[in-house]
């Protein structure tokens, strides 16, 4: 069976839980930016959590089904419609052959996850169906969807009417705190600059995608004076090109922080102030441009506690759906 792409949306791509293991050759792990929503969408339609889904950004696609299927939409509030009739989010519903799935305007969040029973059945490349657009790898022909595409879908056994209660979906605050472990090249900025970095309210810039999220509006950083090391380049924010962790916060020229996300560039020559903790990566995926955000320093112990909380939350939701 297949779904036909009538309109593709803004940037809709095939994603799953990612392709770890190739970062050393510059291929990022990718996968749904909001891992929680990716897993739950799959479970709602009776798939394994790691099946491939469609990730839609800001604007949903319009799809036509060639066979009956069960569908669920999670993540940002992007209301699904079947032949024009609205369906709930976070709840599975059925579609018949010839039905059209479209979407209303995004009400909150930034990305929706569309799971179809049986999973999107594109070829597995390097262990994953995830699309890495920059490297034209995996997914559907290594790119975002276009009108006219026919996306293969596997055979599944989903049932309609399964839903995840609101209290199990995780919170989505409009003003956002991004917890971060300071480090790596934190020592390159002055104490006063470090203090201001955490005090300032930043805003998500329009340049925010799967590679990274840029933030604007805070105070430019003041660097500790030094003679630049050989090979680093002349700007005080330059370092000898190094690896970039997922979630790392780089600040080119000290002006606008960029938080690298699932399709991160794997390395480069800009100093990093630290790394946003794993528990807050999903949250970044749901930030719209202009959303105010604040970076909050945490210790490694706090980061691990937040990670454990996040895991508990996911386990509760998964237990509810698989019980």
């Amino acid at each position: 069976m297949a779904v036909k792409v009538i309109t593709p949306g803004l940037a809709t791509s095939v994603q799953d839980l990612g392709r770890p293991g190739y970062y050393h050759v510059g291929i990022p792990e990718g996968g749904g930016m909001d891992r929680f929503a990716t897993r739950i969408a799959n479970l709602l339609v009776g798939n394994e959590p790691r099946e491939a889904i469609l990730e839609a950004t800001f604007l949903g696609p319009e799809l036509e089904f060639t066979a009956p299927a069960v569908v669920a939409v999670t993540g940002g509030e992007l209301p699904p419609k079947v032949n024009g009739d609205e369906r709930p989010t976070w709840e599975s519903f059925s579609v018949k052959a010839g039905d059209r799935l479209s979407f209303g305007y995004l009400k909150s969040g930034a990305r929706a996850y569309i799971a179809i029973s049986g999973g999107i059945d594109v070829p597995v490349v390097l262990g994953s169906r995830t699309t890495y657009v920059l490297g034209a790898l995996g997914g559907f022909e290594g790119r975002v969807l276009k009108a006219g595409d026919e996306i293969p879908v596997g055979t599944g056994t989903g049932t309609p009417g399964r839903s995840l209660p609101a209290e199990l979906r995780g919170a989505g605050p409009s003003s956002v705190e991004l917890r971060m472990l300071p480090g790596i090249y934190w020592h390159r900025i002055t104490e006063a600059a470090g203090k201001r970095f955490f005090e300032d309210t930043w805003k998500v810039a329009p340049e925010a995608d799967r590679i990274g999220y840029r933030f604007k509006g805070g105070t430019p950083l003041e660097f500790v004076a030094r003679e630049q090391p050989f090979g680093a380049g002349s700007d005080p924010s330059n370092i000898v090109d190094a690896c970039y962790p997922y979630g790392s916060v780089q600040v080119p020229s000290g002006t606008e922080p960029i938080v690298l996300h699932r399709d991160a560039v794997s390395g480069g020559g800009y100093m990093m102030l630290g790394v946003v903790i794993s528990a807050d990566m999903d949250r970044i995926a749901q930030l719209q441009p202009h959303t105010p955000a604040q970076f909050v320093p945490v210790t490694l112990e706090q980061a691990l506690a937040a990670r454990a909380d996040r895991r508990t939350m996911l386990a509760k939701a998964e237990d509810y759906l698989t019980a």
Partner: protein, 291 residues
């Protein structure tokens, strides 16, 4: 030399061998990565060598961050004392310098450059003390380069020229990054050359293009059927300057999937290299000529 370790959030450990670039630092980083790979530590999910640093990714649900840090620290002594020899290979890569495509691209982004009145090659030749572009290109393609890191995007190599520090070519990155760089551009930033494996944004000075694909996600290019990326850290690369006719002829061979780069196995010893750089390089380059 003592490695500066730091946690990158709850899933990464970052190790900086030195702030400045040197082959000795690269080798220490690579030895660390090889030691971690050999040890097969449970919970380690990614091992990435870089120019003068490295990064380990791990699952803190499997191994406690502090335990992994202790294991890494216990490997440090052996890594910094390792004899820095490599079984590797030398690859000859044709490059068409002063090509029309990077020229057209740099003209579109002139206002983002340090010297809008000069080309990237004119500017780089001047600030590195070369009287002409031809002399600059001769220096660029006359001595081999070491692949000291792969990444940024899929298969992109960073290259460090195998000459003494005072002969190293240095150039700043663009004042503001370009939004476009032709595919397979040979560029330069800091002391590093890079080959852009795919078209996209970039901030390095642009000098030329190679006709040879270095990354093929479809694995159809005959020399990229096994590994989709040509370069690995530790590879040695010699640029061969070619003209337009040679570029077109090579491209025709590549399109017919008949072409492959000249590659020779070799060994490299850092001690030997430091004792006689030009002699070591001459021996390496002779391998390419079949001698």
């Amino acid at each position: 030399m003592s490695i500066r370790f730091n946690f990158g959030g709850d899933e990464h450990i970052f190790g900086e061998v030195s702030e400045d670039m040197s082959l000795a630092s690269f080798f220490t980083g690579l030895s660390m990565i090889n030691a971690v790979r050999t040890a097969g530590i449970r919970g380690v999910t990614e091992t990435c060598p870089a120019n003068a640093s490295f990064q380990i990714r791990f699952d803190p649900d499997v191994i406690a961050p502090q335990d992994l840090l202790k294991e890494l620290q216990s490997m440090e002594d052996a890594a910094s004392k390792s004899d820095a020899t490599l079984k590797t290979r030398i690859i000859e890569l044709p490059v068409y310098f002063q090509d029309p495509w990077t020229h057209e691209t740099e003209m579109r982004f002139r206002e983002r450059h340090q010297d809008p009145s000069a080309t990237d090659l004119e500017y780089s030749a001047r600030i590195n003390g070369y009287a002409t572009i031809e002399e600059f290109i001769a220096a660029y393609s006359g001595q081999p380069w070491f692949v000291s890191m792969v990444g940024f995007v899929a298969g992109l190599p960073w290259l460090y020229q195998m000459v003494e520090r005072k002969k190293q070519i240095e150039a700043p990155k663009y004042l503001r990054p370009r939004t476009d760089t032709p595919k397979l551009t040979v560029g330069h930033g800091g002391c590093f050359a890079a080959i852009y494996s795919v078209r996209g944004a970039g901030g390095y000075q642009m000098y030329g293009v190679t006709p040879a694909p270095i990354y093929d996600p479809t694995r159809k290019v005959r020399y990229l059927t096994e590994d989709m990326a040509l370069f690995k850290p530790g590879d040695i690369v010699k640029f061969k300057a070619i003209n337009r006719d040679e570029y077109d002829a090579t491209l025709e061979e590549i399109d017919a999937n008949r072409w492959q780069p000249t590659v020779r196995d070799c060994s490299f010893s850092l001690t030997e290299f430091n004792r006689d750089m030009l002699g070591t390089n001459t021996n390496l380059m002779e391998l390419l000529n079949g001698r």
